[in-house]
Amino acid sequence: MLSLIERWLKASAHETQEYVYLTSAAFYGVFTRPFYRHDIVEQFDQIGAGSLTVVLLAGLFTGAALASQSGLTLDQFGARPVVGRLVSASMIKELGPVLTALMLTGRIGSGIAAEIGSMVVTDQINALRALGTDPVRKLVVPRVLAGIFMAPVLTVIADFIGILGGWVIARFQLQVNSGLYWSSITKGLYIQDVWMGLSKPFVFGFVIATIACHVGLRTTGGTAGVGKATTLSVVAGSVAVIASDFFVTQILIALMY
């Protein structure tokens, strides 16, 4: 039993060490030559534009469901007109960033792990190194940059679409006046909320991309290993998003409120 725990602890420490090594190598790669501009642009397109549909749908239905549920609760206090305030605060501070990040984990986290994992098991990563290319600079840096910078953009879009979805429900189901809905949003929103909602996606984008790259690069065991790496990337990425959400929220509350 003790040796089992010892082995688990050693393996965890080794994984953490490799993860830290990869992230520091990626950080170094962001600021030093050579840069693979074409790959960076391609990843911004794939991760950003490619995830737009998923994020739009998730944001729209989340906002709509939130307005619907909030309407029922607010009715108990006769506060139905402030439904917009509740929807916007929830979307901007919490649901928008977290749900967008979870969508990205499913879409790009799995994609990155599967792509890099396949390259590992088919010797393409070794071929890259043999041809004089550093795989961290060529594969990891563009994906991490795209994750860090596209996650906030997608989150802002998800927030807006979510609030729009909430308006559709507020206007046509809850019969709340449009002017009242939009004014309650602007009245109830503080600058700290906006900072909170904008800061989190940077962290989530970084976490999702680095975990996916790390898991992909450590793939072993042929095609079955690629499948395992993909699953692990989504599971670890999702848990990391939710856990980092808690810690980032605590830090930002302590700093801003």
Partner: protein, 283 residues
């Protein structure tokens, strides 16, 4: 500093001479956890010669190649490639050594998302500042050399197994390395296709003066490469013919068993070996 510069210059002068050692393994050892992969392996590859490493699966053949190119680090021993100690170099330092090394991986390891043109010219497009027109010309020239010029725009998934290996050879030779490393380049191919790949190895060695290390367990291909040579005829056509005795001696065989060298010699010595393991391997 001055001393180091003199040493580098001396090494370069030596390497320019015929018969210079371009790859040297000196008592190399490597183990993964409890499993010993290479035990005290020593050999030398001479400029323009061929070293064929034979052995059963798991005997450490591919591992030796990966150590040459710096993809793996030996636990002990010294590895020289073109006058540089690759066992002591960092990943950044290894990039210079790899500029003169071409490696063909098992199954080719072509980049799935790139076309044949982009695969072949990968290093030139991505890692050099050469004008695009020059790179395109070199890619077309190399694909013409291996007879796949008409496939330049295809994706790797559209090629047959043999064509993929040949594109992998083209990718490795595009930047004109002086040393080629072939890791099971013909494994899994039918004999006719394997011969076309063998012919490319022979042509590179004899026409481009490329030194080669060939890792395989395909005896037929190993002997074919060792016992044939490429000759350019007066009309420019290249023919692969039976090698002269002198040329045959330039191909040396190494037999690995459980990470240990159990044989080193030419094709004739291998054929006449009385070692029971080698006999069973040859039969």
């Amino acid at each position: 500093m001055v001393q180091g510069s003199i040493e580098t210059q001396t090494a370069r002068q030596i390497l320019r001479e015929p018969g210079a050692p371009v790859v040297v393994f000196d008592h190399v050892q490597l183990a993964f956890d409890d499993k010993v992969v290479l035990r005290d392996v020593s050999f030398t590859l001479i400029k323009g010669h061929t070293k064929v490493i034979l052995g059963a699966s798991g005997s450490g053949k591919s591992t030796a190649l990966k150590i040459v190119v710096g993809l793996l680090k030996a636990d002990a021993g010294i590895v020289w490639v073109n006058g540089q100690r690759v066992d002591q170099l960092t990943e950044k330092g290894l990039m210079d050594v790899r500029d003169d090394l071409g490696m063909i991986f098992q199954e080719g390891a072509l980049f799935d998302s790139l076309t044949v043109r982009e695969n072949v010219g990968y290093k030139l497009y991505e890692e050099t500042a050469l004008p695009l027109a020059d790179i395109d010309r070199r890619v077309e020239e190399v694909l013409g050399f291996i007879g796949l010029a008409e496939h330049i725009g295809k994706m790797p998934s559209e090629l047959s197994g043999g064509q993929r290996r040949r594109v992998a050879i083209a990718r490795a030779m595009a930047f004109k390395p002086s040393i080629m490393l072939y890791d099971e380049a013909t494994t899994g191919l039918d004999p006719i296709t394997a011969t076309t790949v063998d012919d490319e190895m022979i042509k590179l060695r004899d026409l481009e003066n490329v030194s080669s290390i060939i890792v395989t367990h395909q005896l037929r291909d190993a002997f074919y490469v060792a016992e044939h040579m490429a000759m350019r005829q007066g009309n420019g056509e290249v023919h692969v013919v039976r090698a002269t005795r002198e040329k045959e001696r330039e191909a040396e065989f190494i037999m690995l068993q459980d990470g240990l060298i159990i044989f080193e010699g030419d094709a004739d010595a291998l054929r006449t070996s009385a070692d029971p393991y080698i006999r069973s391997f040859l039969s």
